[in-house]
Symmetry: C2
Subunit: 476 residues, 2 copies
């Protein structure tokens, strides 16, 4: 699998200098982003593309090639695959569309691919996919994009790795993360997933820098394989799946050639394997930061901090609906809170009211995080003020000290949240719902980890979890 992500040499079959050539856009990104492997192109004229040597056939390339990317008319693909086999190329990404998603004739072509692959021992991604983005070694074979789109991704490689059955969703995720504190390690678009599938990639992501695995699926074919890989995973897996309804499933079928799956079976598989099921496509980029910036939530009892009473009640409703609990603050805790600042309300939700002092807020955070009756915190200060941001920066540090997570939201327009999040590098969520969901999925992962751990020792697992979280540097 490694050669899909870190090829020393790659050939783009179908890259030429013609107008609107899609293979060209792949070479363009690799050259522009200074990918450090060799790049070849194959086209009918055998012409060079952006300075990269060109040939009329793969077989003419005078040296070994790790990875072939194929983006040509569908009927020629099996023949080129055969040439890959003869050349000794064991890794192929087929980006061409027109296979199983296109009916019976396409399905027959896809079967041809399988036969060739089996004959030569080739592993392949796709067909009908965008392939790989690998931030750490500046490798990308997504077609059609602007090279500048990859600037931030390659400059600040992260720890989120995604498997998507849609290149469009891959692009959507990368773009959305551009204004967030978590960023991308790898993105793999697997399209029709005729060979390499999400289970293979879960296995692969166990051994790289990945901290959280995210998946966008339009169908699942081998439930047992998925469950087996997910069960072995030591990293949280989050999935958003299309096809919860018959209509959604039908729409997805015309896209990546799945079969209509029973959503209940998928739901069962997720429960069995500890896969976190997401409620919206947005959660796929907005929630992972709860794992990369915060300790995991080890209990249900949440304290809410606010200085706008309304958001205390709003958040309490959402928490209960998500299966979390309002922490019952002990009398001692409430007394300490009252000493820290002039509170409207010292029982949960804790309401500071309009007076703002950085120290008072920091003290409140510390009192809540250190209270044994509190497992985690939702912080919702509703003021745009320097001292609030300074207090929240302290909060993020304290969460690591007390090994309890905080989900932070500032209830104003999303635009401002995003601008502040970028500037201060704060793990801010964009709504009360999102903040609550973040803690909810964190707890879900913790519970599953503990269940697995009944076999291998509770304490060591707990230690491991916290160690992993501790490694992450949050504030630059």
């Amino acid at each position: 699998m490694q050669k899909f992500f870190q090829p020393r040499s790659v050939v783009i079959v179908g890259a030429s200098n013609s107008l609107f050539n899609l293979g060209f856009t792949i070479v363009n990104v690799l050259v522009d982003q200074q990918f450090n492997g060799k790049v070849f192109s194959v086209n009918s004229k055998g012409e060079f593309v952006m300075g990269c040597p060109g040939f009329k056939s793969i077989l003419e390339i005078p040296e070994a090639v790790d990875l072939a990317i194929i983006l040509i008319a569908v009927r020629h693909v099996p023949g080129v695959m055969e040439q890959c086999g003869k050349k000794g190329i064991k890794n192929v990404i087929i980006e061409s569309a027109g296979f199983a998603e296109n009916g019976d004739s396409g399905m027959a072509l896809q079967h041809e691919l399988d036969a060739v692959a089996r004959c030569y021992g080739i592993r392949y991604m796709g067909p009908n996919c965008f392939g790989v983005v690998s931030a750490r070694n500046r490798f990308c074979c997504f077609f059609g994009g602007d090279p500048r789109n990859y600037d931030r991704i390659f400059q600040e490689p992260g720890t989120l790795s995604y498997v998507v059955q849609s290149g469009g969703i891959g692009a959507f995720l990368m773009e959305s993360l551009d204004s967030d504190v978590a960023s991308v390690n790898k993105v793999v678009s697997i399209g029709n997933k005729a060979d390499v599938d999400e289970a293979d990639l879960i296995d692969y992501f166990q051994h790289d820098e990945t901290e959280v695995i995210g998946m966008y699926l339009e169908n699942f074919r081998n439930g047992r394989k998925l469950i087996a890989s997910a069960k072995k995973s030591k990293k949280p897996i989050m999935v958003f799946k299309v096809g919860r309804t018959a209509e959604g499933s039908k729409a997805a079928m015309s896209h990546t050639a799945g079969m209509a799956n029973d959503d209940k079976i998928f739901e069962y598989a997720c429960r069995q394997a500890g896969i976190i099921r997401l409620k919206s496509i947005k959660e796929l980029h907005s929630l992972p930061k709860v794992f990369t910036t915060m300790p995991v939530l080890k209990g249900k009892r949440i304290a809410i901090f606010t200085n706008t009473g309304a958001f205390g009640g709003i958040t309490a409703d959402i928490m209960i609906e998500e299966g979390l609990q309002m922490a019952q603050l002990a009398n001692g805790t409430q007394q300490r809170l009252r000493k820290a600042g002039q509170l409207f309300n010292a029982s949960n939700p804790v309401d500071l009211g309009p007076g703002i002092s950085k120290q008072a807020i920091v003290d409140i955070f510390e009192i809540l995080l250190s209270a044994s009756e509190v497992d985690g915190l939702i912080s919702m200060p509703n003021i745009w003020h320097e001292s609030i941001f300074e207090a929240v920066i302290e909060l993020v540090k304290m969460c690591r000290i007390y090994q309890k997570p905080a989900a932070i939201h500032i209830p104003n327009s999303v635009e401002r949240i995003i601008s502040v999040r970028k500037h201060y590098r704060l793990p801010l969520f964009e709504s009360p719902e999102e903040a609550v969901r973040a803690l909810s999925v964190s707890y879900q992962y913790y519970k599953y980890s503990m269940k697995k751990n009944i076999l291998s020792g509770f304490d060591s697992k707990q230690k491991k979890l916290t160690d992993k979280q501790d490694k992450v540097a949050i504030i630059a």
Copy 2:
């Protein structure tokens, strides 16, 4: 009620030049924003505030006063209320807190207010509220805000009117709408709503520029009054209520002194009265634009347009879960679509694929809107391109011609959506979920209107609805 919103003269009791004086902040906004009525202040020194005449008592003011705003220590409030009565002031806004939300002694003070009000025939808002923002006449008695916050609201008065049981939520809504195409007419913070309540305001909003009524409620006291007013409303009413759970209800009680209500009773009241119940606080500012910029949805059958296959399936799932239907496109419609552009998929969801041409997209929009089997459109073009925006601008115009609504979303980062929405004045929604919900609430309102109309004539009502929508100028 009119004097609460358009007073010719107003006195702020408690406004002085002391540091951190909250009454001062009200005078500051009125003066800075050039409110065109007279402004007086009452404080212990009788001093002028920002050039506005000051007195030691209301009774010293040498002319008639339409409205008194009281923001002083809670124990003095009933006495000042008595003075209002003697002075002949019939409208009072009590912003001071410490009444029923503060336990028994506060409750006793609140009863005193009632007695004085009854004795002198005073209508009052609050206590424990922020009062009124009225954009058209630049009137605002919210305290604590920066006058510049009101610049855009007063410069571009809109047609959304809100009733909120939290000044913080009022500020949140105004700020969130700052980057949207719909804007505020009036915002009323009613706090403990001891006298003036949401039902009174629904009645009042029937006779001004309001097109959509939004409500944030923490409790409801007089269900029958609310149902009666809502049933008479000729304008859609949307509500977000806290207290769906016991914990949320408890948190709200400490805020605005409600009673624990059974959420099922409230749900029943909403169904009876055609009140649209919202699922998140965000919907309170994001959904009303479907009414102010689009014709109402008159059937369930929705066509989806996309050029990223994944979002077709994602949206289909959400639509079905929201109770809408995928339109079954007739063969003739599909043939016309195939002539308009090179489609990946001509059945619903319609997938244009990567080729972009403004004319092709406009043609597809027109074919879908004109098809008798389509009641409304969800448009989700996934490309940031001038020709896309031009096509979407045409779409908004066509919706008025065909009297069918479109909910438009562009599946990229929210940041970009917001920047484009402002710049092009497009009614863009921020997620597929939001777009679907917009059509869903539109249809919900239509159905209820039709039901009521069985009594008063189906056709005239339909005409009226469309006339109302037609008046709205969408593209500047």
